[in-house]
C-alpha cells in the first residue's frame, strides 16, 4: 500500500490566509518518494504558493503524466481533482480539461522523461496553443522509477550513477518553451524555495502558457559527482538573472526598492511582478534576447534561473477560439441543441 493519509491534527494557531484556510488545507497525502527528493521540495513550494495566493483549494485541477514527478499531485492540494494520465500526455489531457471549463486553475506537473522524451510533441504543441496553465517540469535528468537511465535533459558528458557517460545532446526545455511561444518562462531550483515560490505564484496569476523548468535533483540516481543535475553542481552553477517578488492585485507594494534595481511588470489581472535585477542587465520582456542569453550561458556550463521571459498581456487559447465566457461544461440543451424546427429546415435543404 503506497497510499498514506496525513493525520488531520494541526496546531490551533496555524496562520490562516484571506479565505480562512491554513497551510494544511493545501496538503495532500504523505509523499512516497525517496527521502530528500527534490520533488518534495517543489510540492512544498506549490503548497505555499497556493496558500499565499488564497486560492480555493478545489478550484485547481492538477494533471500529470507518468513518473516520479507525475506522482506528486497526490501530495499537494488534496481537495483538488487530480488526473494522473498516461506517459507524456499530460498536455493534451490538460488542454481538453481547460477547454471544458475555463474557470479552474490548471496545474500540469511533468518530468523530464515525460516532457522531453515521450511527450516532447505534446509539450511543444500545448505551449504553441497558449493553453492557460502552469506547466511544471520537475527536471532531474534521469528516469527514477525505472532506476537511473538518462533522460533527454541530461547534459552531454554527464555521468550516470553506474558510470556511463551521456553522449547525446541535451534538450533545454526552457529554451524550447521560449521558441514555441510560451508567454511565461522561468527556471528554478527545487532547493531554492525563496526563488521558486514567487515564480509559481506569478505563473498561476499569468494568463496564457506559463512554463517552469525546475531542476530537481534525484537523490537516488543522479546526485553524484559527474552529474550536472546534482545538488552540489546546481548550487555551484546556478546563475539567477533576477529575484522575484509577487504582489497580488489586492496588495499594496510595501517593499522599499533601491531606484533602478527593480523592474515592475503588471500582468493582465493587476498582479505585479517586482523583479530585482542581479548581475547582468537582463530584460525579461525581451524574448529574443532571453533566447540568446540562455544559449550563451549554457555554452559556459551555467544554469540560468529566474523569470526568463514574461509577456504580461498575452492571450490564451480561449481568446483564440473565441469561446463563450461560461464554461462549456456548464452549457445545457438550451445553449447546445438547435432543436427540431432548425432540423426540419436542414432536412428541407437536403432535397
Amino acid at each position: 500500500m503506497t497510499y498514506l493519509a496525513k493525520p488531520k491534527f494541526h496546531h490551533p494557531d496555524l496562520p490562516k490566509n484571506a479565505l480562512g484556510f491554513t497551510h494544511r488545507d493545501y496538503e495532500g497525502t504523505v509523499s512516497t518518494l525517496c527521502a530528500g527528493c527534490g520533488h518534495d521540495s517543489i510540492t512544498a513550494s506549490i503548497i505555499q504558493a497556493c496558500f499565499e495566493l488564497s486560492i480555493e483549494p478545489h478550484r485547481v485541477a492538477k494533471i500529470s503524466g507518468i513518473g516520479c514527478s507525475s506522482k506528486t499531485p497526490t501530495y499537494f492540494l488534496g481537495n483538488s481533482h487530480g488526473f494522473n494520465s498516461v506517459h507524456g500526455r499530460m498536455p493534451s489531457v490538460l488542454t481538453g480539461a481547460n477547454l471544458a471549463n475555463r474557470d479552474l486553475i490548471y496545474l500540469g506537473v511533468s518530468g523530464d522523461g515525460d516532457s522531453a522524451s515521450i511527450g516532447l510533441g505534446q509539450f511543444a504543441h500545448c505551449l504553441r496553443r497558449g493553453v492557460n496553465m502552469v506547466y511544471i517540469v520537475e527536471n532531474n535528468g534521469v528516469y527514477g522509477l525505472t532506476k537511473g537511465q538518462f533522460s533527454a535533459t541530461a547534459d552531454r558528458g554527464s555521468k550516470s550513477k553506474r558510470g556511463f557517460v551521456n553522449t547525446d545532446n541535451s534538450i533545454d526545455l526552457a529554451a524550447m518553451a521560449l521558441q514555441l511561444g510560451a508567454s511565461f518562462v522561468a527556471r528554478s531550483f527545487s532547493g531554492d524555495k525563496h526563488q521558486l515560490v514567487p515564480i509559481i505564484k506569478a505563473a498561476i496569476a499569468h494568463r496564457g502558457a506559463a512554463f517552469i523548468d525546475i531542476i530537481s535533483p534525484c537523490v537516488a540516481f543522479n546526485n553524484h559527482p559527474g552529474s550536472t543535475k546534482s545538488f552540489d553542481f546546481v548550487r555551484e552553477h546556478n546563475e539567477a538573472v533576477n529575484r522575484l517578488d509577487f504582489i497580488s492585485s489586492r496588495m499594496p507594494i510595501e517593499i522599499d526598492y533601491q531606484p533602478g534595481t527593480v523592474e515592475i511588470v503588471t500582468q493582465h489581472d493587476g498582479s505585479r511582478l517586482a523583479l530585482r535585477k542581479i548581475g547582468a542587465d537582463y530584460d525579461p520582456t525581451d524574448r529574443t534576447a532571453a533566447m540568446g542569453f540562455l544559449q550563451q550561458q549554457a555554452a559556459k556550463g551555467q544554469i540560468v534561473t529566474g523569470l526568463l521571459y514574461v509577456h504580461p498581456d498575452s492571450e490564451d487559447l480561449h481568446a483564440h477560439l473565441r469561446t463563450a465566457e461560461a464554461p462549456l461544461n456548464s452549457l445545457g440543451e438550451k445553449d447546445l441543441c438547435p432543436g427540431s424546427a432548425v432540423l426540419d429546415k436542414i432536412n428541407a435543404g437536403l432535397r
Binding site: H58, R89, A97, A100, N101, L104, P338, I346, R351
Partner: protein, 614 residues
C-alpha cells in the same frame, strides 16, 4: 452488330463516370445524381476516388432505382469514359448490351471497343476548344457539356438541371448563365446528332418522398451538435476529416451565441491522434461532451488512451470512419475492418461499446445518442461508420429530433448532495448496475475530490495494488458492460413470411445491399430471417436469433469475419452455426455478391428452394 440486345430499362440502371482526379468532374457528376433525385427517382451515388489530389483515376457511380435499391449493384450499364488512362478497363466493365459515351475528338480504332455494347461518340474536346479559349474553362465546361449530352440521351428534365445550376451558383450569379449555356451545347449536340433517348432512360415519378440526400460524415457531425458535444479534437485522416470539417461548419451556423457572438464549442486540430483522444478525455473528465473523428490508423495510435478511458471510466465518443486496412491499406476504399480493434481496444482486459449505423440518418441518431450512452456508462463509445456511409451521399429518411428530449448526463454527484453528506466513492457501485457516481472537478471545497488514474484503485479511488480490490473493480466493469447491453440500440429483426431454419446477421453499410439481396434470394425460392445488429455489446436477442435457426449467415465487409468472432466470443455460440459471407476488396458490398454467396452456400448445404421460380 452488337452480339447482345441493348439494355432497355426505365429508371433502373447504373451510370458510371470515369474521370481524372482534380478535373472538376465531381460537382458536375453530383449534379447529375441530384437531378435524377429531383425527378423523384431514388438514386444512390458512390464516389470511387484515389488517395491523390490531382491526376489519378476517379469514378463516380450513380445507381438509379425506382424500386429503391440503393446499395451498390455491381456492373455498369452506361459508362461515361472521360479518362484515357482507364479507358480499356472501363469498357471491359460495361454490362453486355450496355452503353459507352466517350470523347470522339481523337478517332480510336475499332479494336478499342466491344461489339456487344452501344458506342456513342461525342467530340467533347473539339466542342470545348471551339467554344472556349481559357484552358481551365475548357476543362470545367466539358463536364457540364457531357451532363447536357446525358440529359438528352436519358430523357432527363432539363429544367431540373437548370434549377440545380442556379442553386449551386447562388451568390456567384455570373456563373449561372455560362453553365446553362454549356449544358445546352451538350444537349443540343445530342439532340441533333444522336438517337435520343436511349433504350435506358429516366421518367419523372414520385418515389423519393421526404427523403434527404446527405453524406454520413455530415449527418454524424450534426448528431454531435444535437447531442451536445462542445469539444472536438481531431487529426486529419481520410475518410474521417470531412466529419470534423462538417462539425466546424455546423457549429459556425448553429452554435454561436446570438448575443455575445462567442462560440459555444471548441475545436482543436491536434498534433496527432494521441493528442486528439487525450484532449477528448481531458474535456470529458471535466464534464464537457467531447469527441474525436478518426479512422483505423488513428484508432491504433489511440490504444493506450482508450484503455485509460475504460479503466478510469471517462465518457468519450470516437467516430471511426472505417477504411480498408491493415496498415495504410487502401485509404480511400471502404471496409468494416475495425470491429475487433475497437471492441477490445487497448492492452489488458477491455471491452467497449460500439454503435453501428446503417446510413447517414442513423449516423445522426447514433451520433447524438453516443454522448448520452458515454455519459450514462462512463466509458468510451465508438460510432462505427465506414467510407461508404461517411463520404457518399445517401438518400435516406429525414433526421428527426424530439424537443422534449433532455440530455442524460449520467450519474453525477452535485455540490448539494456532497454538502448534505452523501457518501461519495468514485468507484462504488451504489445501484448494482456497475455504474458509479462521479464528480466534476471544482464541485465542492472539501468533499468529492478524487484522483483519477490508470493505476488500480479501491472503491474510494485510493491507489492500491492489492488483488481483491483490483478484482472487485474489474468485476464491476463487467457488470457495467452487462448494463450496456440493454441500453444500446437493439438489433432489428425482419422475419421471412414463412418460418425458416436460416437467418442472416448483417450491420452498417451492408443494409441496402442486404435488403435487395433478400428479394433476389426469395425470388429463387429461399427464405431467410434477417437481423441487423446495431450495437455492441450484443443484446440477448442476438443469442436467441442464432439459437432459433440452424444456420445463420453473417455478412460483413472484412477478411477475418470480425463480427462473427465477436458473436462467437461474446454469446458463447458454436462457430459451426455461423456461416461467413465476406466482401473485402474495398468496394461497397453488392446485392449480387450477397445473393450469389448465400444461394451457393445454401445449395452446398443441400437446401431445396421452397418453390421453383422461372
Amino acid at each position: 452488330m452488337p452480339t447482345a440486345a441493348p439494355i432497355s430499362r426505365v429508371n433502373d440502371f447504373v451510370v458510371r463516370f470515369a474521370n481524372v482526379n482534380g478535373s472538376g468532374s465531381a460537382s458536375a457528376n453530383e449534379m447529375f445524381a441530384r437531378a435524377i433525385m429531383r425527378m423523384g427517382i431514388p438514386v444512390g451515388p458512390r464516389n470511387i476516388f484515389p488517395s491523390n489530389i490531382q491526376g489519378l483515376p476517379t469514378w463516380y457511380e450513380v445507381r438509379i432505382s425506382e424500386a429503391g435499391h440503393l446499395g451498390a449493384r455491381g456492373g455498369t450499364d452506361l459508362m461515361v469514359a472521360m479518362n484515357p488512362q482507364t479507358f480499356d478497363k472501363d469498357i471491359a466493365a460495361i454490362e453486355p448490351g450496355g452503353y459507352l459515351l466517350y470523347d470522339s475528338t481523337k478517332p480510336l480504332p475499332a479494336s478499342k471497343f466491344r461489339n456487344d455494347i452501344t458506342v456513342i461518340g461525342v467530340p467533347l474536346t473539339a466542342i470545348c476548344n471551339r467554344e472556349y479559349t481559357d484552358p481551365r474553362q475548357r476543362q470545367l465546361f466539358k463536364n457540364i457539356i457531357y451532363i447536357g449530352v446525358l440529359s438528352a440521351l436519358l430523357d432527363m428534365d432539363v429544367k431540373v438541371i437548370e434549377q440545380l445550376i442556379g442553386e449551386q451558383y447562388k451568390g456567384k450569379e455570373k456563373l449561372i448563365e455560362p453553365n446553362i449555356k454549356a449544358l445546352h451545347i451538350g444537349r443540343d449536340y445530342a439532340t441533333l446528332n444522336l438517337t435520343c433517348p436511349l433504350p435506358i432512360k429516366v421518367r419523372t415519378v414520385d418515389k423519393v418522398g421526404d427523403r434527404i440526400f446527405i453524406e454520413g460524415n455530415s449527418a454524424a457531425a450534426l448528431g454531435a451538435v444535437y447531442g451536445g458535444a462542445t469539444v472536438c479534437a481531431w487529426y486529419p485522416i481520410t475518410p474521417s476529416s470531412s466529419l470534423a470539417d462538417a462539425f466546424t461548419r455546423h457549429c459556425a451556423k448553429l452554435r454561436i451565441d446570438p448575443q455575445t457572438k462567442k462560440a459555444n464549442y471548441a475545436i482543436i486540430q491536434a498534433e496527432d491522434e494521441l493528442a486528439s483522444i487525450g484532449m477528448v478525455i481531458g474535456a470529458a473528465w471535466n464534464g464537457a461532451r467531447s469527441f474525436t473523428a478518426t479512422s483505423g490508423p488513428g484508432i491504433s495510435l489511440m490504444q493506450e488512451f482508450i484503455g485509460l478511458a475504460y479503466f478510469a471510466e471517462i465518457p468519450s465518443v470516437i467516430f471511426n470512419v472505417q477504411r480498408a486496412g491493415p496498415s495504410t491499406g487502401m485509404p480511400t476504399r471502404t471496409q468494416q475492418c475495425d470491429l475487433i480493434s475497437c471492441a477490445y481496444a487497448s492492452h489488458g482486459d477491455t471491452k467497449h461499446v460500439m454503435l453501428l449505423p446503417e446510413n447517414p440518418t442513423e449516423a445522426f441518431e447514433f451520433g447524438a445518442q453516443a454522448f448520452d450512452l458515454a455519459d450514462r456508462l462512463q466509458t468510451p463509445v465508438f460510432v462505427m461508420l465506414d467510407l461508404d456511409i461517411g463520404m457518399n451521399h445517401h438518400l435516406c429518411r429525414p433526421m428527426v429530433w424530439d424537443d422534449a428530449k433532455k440530455y442524460d448526463r449520467g450519474k453525477i454527484m452535485t455540490a448539494a448532495e456532497l454538502e448534505a453528506g452523501k457518501d461519495f466513492g468514485r468507484y462504488l457501485d451504489v445501484d448494482g448496475d456497475g455504474i458509479p457516481y462521479r464528480t466534476y472537478p471544482g464541485t465542492h471545497p472539501t468533499r468529492g475530490s478524487f484522483f483519477t488514474r490508470g493505476t488500480s484503485r479501491d472503491r474510494y479511488a485510493k491507489y492500491t495494488e492489492e488483488g481483491a480490490p483490483y478484482v472487485d473493480n474489474m468485476q464491476r466493469l463487467l457488470r457495467k458492460f452487462e448494463t450496456a447491453k440493454d441500453i444500446v440500440p437493439r438489433p432489428l429483426i425482419a422475419n421471412a413470411a414463412k418460418p425458416t431454419k436460416f437467418g442472416v446477421i448483417y450491420f452498417g453499410s451492408t443494409a441496402p445491399a442486404m435488403d435487395e439481396a433478400i428479394e433476389m434470394i426469395e425470388a429463387k425460392g429461399h427464405t431467410l430471417d434477417r437481423m441487423r445488429v446495431r450495437a455492441f455489446p450484443f443484446h440477448s436477442s442476438v443469442n436467441s436469433f442464432v439459437a432459433d435457426h440452424d444456420f445463420v449467415f453473417v455478412v460483413e465487409q472484412n477478411r477475418d469475419a470480425q463480427m462473427r468472432s465477436l458473436i462467437v466470443n461474446e454469446c458463447n455460440i458454436d462457430p459451426v452455426r455461423l456461416v461467413s459471407v465476406l466482401h473485402y476488396d474495398g468496394t461497397p458490398i453488392t446485392a449480387r455478391f450477397i445473393e450469389k454467396a448465400i444461394t451457393e452456400k445454401l445449395d452446398a448445404l443441400k437446401v431445396k428452394p421452397e418453390k421453383v421460380v422461372s
